[in-house]
Amino acid sequence: MIESDVVGWIVAGATTAGPRVSVGSRLQSAALPAVTIDMTTGSRASLGTSSMLHRYSLTINAIAIDMASAQSLAEAAAGYVKLNAALGGGAAYDLNFAAIQEPTPGDGDEMEPAIAVAELEILYPGT
C-alpha cells in the first residue's frame, strides 16, 4: 500500500520526527515532533497498463512544540515524499504547504502543539 511506502520514505529521511510517523493519528502520549499522514483519495489516472499511473491525495500533518519546528518538519517530510515518488518513477507536487495551525491553549492553561499541514498530489506507477 502507498501509505506504508510514504511512512517508510519519511522515516528513512530521518527527519526530526524520527520513527514517529504514523497513518491517521498518533498516540496522545507520543513524544514530539511527530508526523501523521492521511491518504484521502486514490484513483486510477491513466488508461491501460502501459506506464499506468495512480493518483493519490496526501495530507501530511507535522506536529511539534512550536510553529517553526512544525513548519520545517512539514517541509522536510513533503520533500522526502517528492524525492521518493520521483525515484519510484512517479511525481509528487504541492497543492498546499506552509499552512500553520498555531498552538492553542488547551484545557487548563497548557499550550497544545503546533501543526503544519502540507497537501500533496502523488502520481505513482500502478500495477
Binding site: 486510477r44 489516472a45 491513466s46 488508461l47 491501460g48 497498463t49 502501459s50 506506464s51 499506468m52 499511473l53 511525481a91 507536487y93 504541492d94 497543492l95 498530489e121 502520481l123
Partner: protein, 130 residues
Amino acid sequence: MAVPTAGNAVFSINAAAVGEVASATLTVSRQPIEVTAIGDTYRKHEYGIVDGTVNLELFWDTAGVTGHNTIVTALENGTLLTAAAVVWESGKSISGNAYVQDVSITVAPNGVAQATCTLIFSGSAITITQ
C-alpha cells in the same frame, strides 16, 4: 452492460499502447450533404464521407513514456500516424491512419506537464471493430 475501462481501454499507435493517457475521446461522423432541390417541400440530405477525430489528454513526457515522442514527431514532420486506435475493450476499437492537428502543452505551478492533442483520420479506411 456497461464496460469497465480501467485496464482494458487504451489508445495505441500501430498496435503499441501509448502510456500515461489520461483520456481518449474518439468522434466518428458522417457529415450530411444537402441535396434539396429548388421547389422541394422539405430539406433532403445524403450521407457524406466518414470522418473521424481523436482527442487525447496526456501526462506529457516525451522522454520516458511510450508514444508521446511519436506524436510530437509526426506533428513536426507532417507525417501520418499509422493505425491510431482507441480501444474500449479487448478486441473492440476504432482505428485509422491519422495526422496530428495540434498538440497543446499546459504547465502550471502545482502540477505536472499535461498535453491535449487532436488527431484527424486521413487518407485511409476508418476501421470499426465491435
